[in-house]
Structures are given as C-alpha cells and as structure tokens.
C-alpha cells in the first residue's frame, strides 16, 4: 500500500535526521534503535496505561528520551569516534534486552494498544522537524557545530563549549528519534523490542552516509531512496542488504561524503540564491 510505504519513508527520514543532528557536532551515534524504543514505549505507557492524549504524550516521550540521552551521552561523547560506535551499539543492545525483560511493558511478547497515527501525522512531523533543521542550518549555531566537528580543540579555544554542543546534538537527535518511535508505535498498534535492534541503528546511519553527511537533505535523500526504491524494483527489495552494502562501499570509495555533498553557508556578503550552495572542494571525511 502506497500510504504504508510513505509512512515508513517518513519515519526513516526522521530517524536519518536524528543521526544527522548528532553528526553535525562530529559524533556518529548508533543508538537510534535504543532512543526510538525509549520514545515509543514512553508514549505507549503514557497513552495506554495512563490515558494521556497523544500530543502531550509524544512531547513528554521526546523530553524523557532527550534527558536519558543527555545522561548517557555525558561520559560517552568524550570517546573517540570509533569507540563511540561501540558504546552506542552496546546501548542499543542493552535497551532492547532491558525492555524484553520488563513485564510492565510486555517484555518479549510486545506492547500493544497504541493507536492514532497515520500518514498525515508523519507528514506534519517531517515538516515540523525539517523546518527546525533548516532554521538551524542557517543559524550561527550551525557554525559552532561545524567548528566543533571540524576541529574541536580550536573550537574550544574560541570559547565554544564543545561538550555541551555535543550533548545537545546527541539529545536533540534522540528527541527526533523518539518522535519517530512514537509515530511508529501508534501506527503499528503493537511493538516488540526486537524491532528496535542493532541492525536498525546501522541501517539508519547508512542512510545518512549514502545521502550525504554535510546537509540535512542528504539524510532525507538517503532515507527516501533506501525506503522507496526497493518498493519499485523487485530485485532491490529481495537483495536489499547486498545492494545497500554495495552502494555504500562504492560510495565510500568514490564519494565518501555521500550523494549530496554541498554545505549550506550560514553567512555571506554577496546576496543571491546560488551563493548559498558551496560544493566542497576537498574530500575530507
């Protein structure tokens, strides 16, 4: 069903953006499965067990997830990039196993009863989050994030609180993933912890890598391409992991920044629409 696919595309866009938001501060997180699960179950508990209406529950879920992410992030974000990958993978694993063992939320067999989200809710969410990200991309805060990402020691010497920026990026990303989780849960009616696993975390990161790591549209493109294309090409759907893996490999070898490499410039002297897009001259990671 077309609306099904579009729905999941929307979810994947949100998840890809959640990776992107942390990535702009230079930290690649593989914890999306975990934070999505926390968001989903938080909202589930609030709506099903406590009867909260959906919107406040969604907001509350996002806030709770952001706080948990900030707490976990504080020690974790100091680790060098590659080791952060290990820790965030570990977090995804742990959250899944923990949820499988808590009977209050259904354990392994899952949690049901959530309802009420459909394609229009997802569209609204994507538009809202997208607008916020666009605003961010053109704001001074984007510059600070770019500085932190490119050279955190120098950024620090300029007075930028690198740790704070990284935690903010990680938490904001977690909040977005939480919203995706909420929408997912309320659409599926019934969720299991195993849906929020390590493979999901990896896939979502690869969407961003494929689409382009330097701007928000790359994440959007990667999510759309990898979710919708397999629906229209049988072979892509059957061989999805292989095709995906090969695409990523080819991309990393020849165009490591992803498909869309441009960066949105946040300030310029000369006005005019084309001045905003700056293709990157060098292939720095």
């Amino acid at each position: 069903m077309i609306s099904d696919q579009l729905f999941f595309t929307g979810i994947n866009i949100l998840l890809a953006w959640s990776v992107y938001v942390s990535l702009i501060t230079g930290r690649l997180s593989f914890a999306q499965g975990a934070v999505m699960a926390i968001g989903c179950y938080s909202s589930g508990v609030l709506t099903v067990r406590f009867g909260w209406p959906r919107l406040p529950a969604c907001v509350a879920a996002a806030v709770v997830t952001a706080i948990v992410a900030a707490i976990l992030g504080y020690p974790a974000l100091r680790l060098r990039g590659v080791y952060l990958i290990l820790v965030t993978l570990g977090i995804t694993f742990c959250v899944r196993v923990t949820f499988e063992n808590v009977n209050y939320i259904g354990g392994v067999s899952g949690f049901g009863g959530m309802a009420g989200s459909d394609l229009s809710t997802v569209v609204v969410a994507v538009v809202v989050v997208g607008s916020i990200l666009l605003w961010l991309s053109l704001s001074p805060l984007q510059r600070s994030c770019d500085a932190v990402r490119e050279d955190d020691r120098v950024a620090s010497s300029l007075g930028i609180n690198v740790t704070l920026i990284r935690i903010m990026g990680f938490s904001a990303g977690a909040a977005i993933a939480a919203v995706a989780g909420v929408l997912y849960g309320h659409y599926m009616n019934f969720v299991r912890p195993e849906s929020f696993d390590v493979l999901l975390s990896i896939y979502v990161v690869l969407y961003v890598v494929l689409g382009g790591v330097n701007n928000m549209f790359g994440a959007l493109l990667g999510a759309v391409v990898m979710t919708l294309l397999p629906e229209y090409f049988r072979i892509l759907s059957e061989w999805r992991p292989t095709v995906f893996g090969l695409s990523i490999l080819i991309l990393l070898l020849f165009r490591p920044m992803g498909l869309l490499t441009f960066r949105l410039v946040t300030a310029r002297v000369r006005k005019g629409p084309m001045a905003a897009l700056k293709p990157l001259a060098d292939r720095v990671q």
């Binding site: 704001s139 490119e150 609180n161 903010m168 410039v265 300030a267 310029r268 002297v269």
Partner: protein, 258 residues
C-alpha cells in the same frame, strides 16, 4: 589601561613522560605590552602557549590571567576569559568560508548556543557581521569573504587566523610564529598589521624566529632554551646576550657541519 599584569606565569613545569619540556619558567606580560618570545626549536615556546590556552595541563606551577588562576581551567573557559591564539601550522576551519571563520568566534554565538540558534536573521545579526567585515578589512582579506577558507593563499590564511583570533575580543593574543614561511614583503605587511592590532588588544605574546620582526615590534623580549628562560630585557640587549647567542649559534654550527 590599568597597571594590572595581564599574564603571570609562575614556576611553570611541564613533563611529557620522562621528558621535561618546560622547567621553572617565570614570565609576565603586562597590560599594553607586546612581549617577544624567542628561542631555538624545541625550546618549549609552543608548549608554553599550549599551557596558557589549556591545550596541555601543567605538571606544576601556576598561570594567572588578569589575576585569575587558569592553570587547570578548561580550554573554552580560558577562551571566554579573553585569551586567543594563532597556530604555527594554521588551523582554520577549512570547510567554512572566510567570513564564517571569523563569525564563529563572535562572543554571543560562540558562548551561548541557545542564543546562537536564534541569532537574528540570515546574516546573524548586523553588529556581528559588521564587526567581522571590519576585521577582515583590517587584515586585507575582506574581498575574499565568501571564499572557502581552504582556497586561501598561505599569507591570507595566516591573516585569517589572526582575524579569527581577534574576533574573540581578546585581552591577550598569543601569536605562534605568524611570519613563518612569509617572504619579505609579506613580513613587512605583517608588521604593519600587528601594529594596527595593538590598538585593539591590550597584550600580545609573539613567538618568532625572525629577529627583525621581534626588534621592530617588541617592547620586551624573553628568550628560552631547553624549557628555561635564559634572558629577558629589551630586544637589543637580549639578542646580544651570550646565552642567547650560544643557543642559536649552537644550532647553526650543527647545520654548517652537515
């Protein structure tokens, strides 16, 4: 201009494992001064700057900035207090434009992320923009404002680093060999630029190998060798000091023999 000492370094020591990079170093930079710091390679000059800015942690001793103890402070705290630096091997944000490199250092945006998110409008607030352009003009790179930092020539890149450091509105500016690799005309321009800058920064610590530059600009010179201070005084005295001559000549003899 007060009589306060901007920077006080007391009994500073830095060990890297078994290697003692800095030993018992005492140094002052007073308000309004430009102090030249000279010494052969490996004398510990950059290590000193790294400790002042918090890149390295001192093994012993203390560093005071405007009376405040910054020995163990975080890098960003030191930056916010008003210490700025340039780097020997130029560390610009290569993926950002020249203008953005300067804007990123501006006070409300660097220090307050939330306010930075709501920075008014696309050009991030007229005042910041105007100030940034002024700095760029002062260092003759305003015409390249929209270019990527990675596309700049060597001399322009150095000047951009200085402009970026100035954007912090520092009380103390640490320049690490700004003339390295420059030819004569560029160096001459640099002298003029630094003189201009002195109107806006109360204190400067200048590391240089170019003795001409040191003589033209410094109020006072400090010489280091093997992590220790070996001489201090006005430029002409220090450059003729026997220990200083020996420190440099020793190096030169090696090069001649090779």
């Amino acid at each position: 201009m007060t009589d306060q000492t901007t920077l006080e370094v007391r009994n500073l020591r830095k060990d890297f494992g078994g290697l003692r990079a800095i030993e018992n170093l005492n140094l002052d930079v007073r308000d309004g001064e430009l102090v030249g710091l000279i010494g052969p390679n490996g004398a510990g000059k950059t290590a000193l700057i790294n400790m002042i800015t918090g890149f390295y942690r001192a093994t012993a001793g203390s560093i005071l900035f405007l009376g405040k103890d910054i020995t163990a402070a975080d890098m960003h705290e030191i930056g916010r207090l008003g210490v700025a630096r340039t780097f020997q091997n130029i560390r610009l944000f290569r993926r950002m434009t020249v203008l953005e490199n300067v804007l990123v250092a501006h006070k409300p945006f660097a220090t307050h992320p939330i306010r930075a998110l709501f920075g008014s409008g696309f050009n991030s607030g007229r005042p910041a923009f105007n100030e940034a352009m002024r700095l760029l003009e002062m260092l003759q790179i305003a015409d390249k404002a929209d270019q990527l930092a990675s596309s700049l020539s060597f001399g322009d890149a150095r000047r951009l680093e200085i402009a970026r450091a100035m954007a912090v509105r520092p009380r103390l500016l640490l320049l690490d060999e700004p003339a390295a690799g420059m030819n004569e005309s560029e160096t001459k321009q640099l002298v003029d630029d630094i003189r201009l800058i002195r109107n806006q920064v109360s204190s400067i610590l200048l590391i240089e190998h170019d003795m001409d530059l040191i003589q033209q600009l410094s109020d006072r010179v400090v010489a280091m060798d093997y992590g220790r201070k070996i001489a201090e005084g006005i430029a002409s005295d220090v450059l003729r000091h026997p220990d200083v001559v020996r420190a440099y000549l020793g190096e030169d003899v090696e090069q001649v023999v090779r």
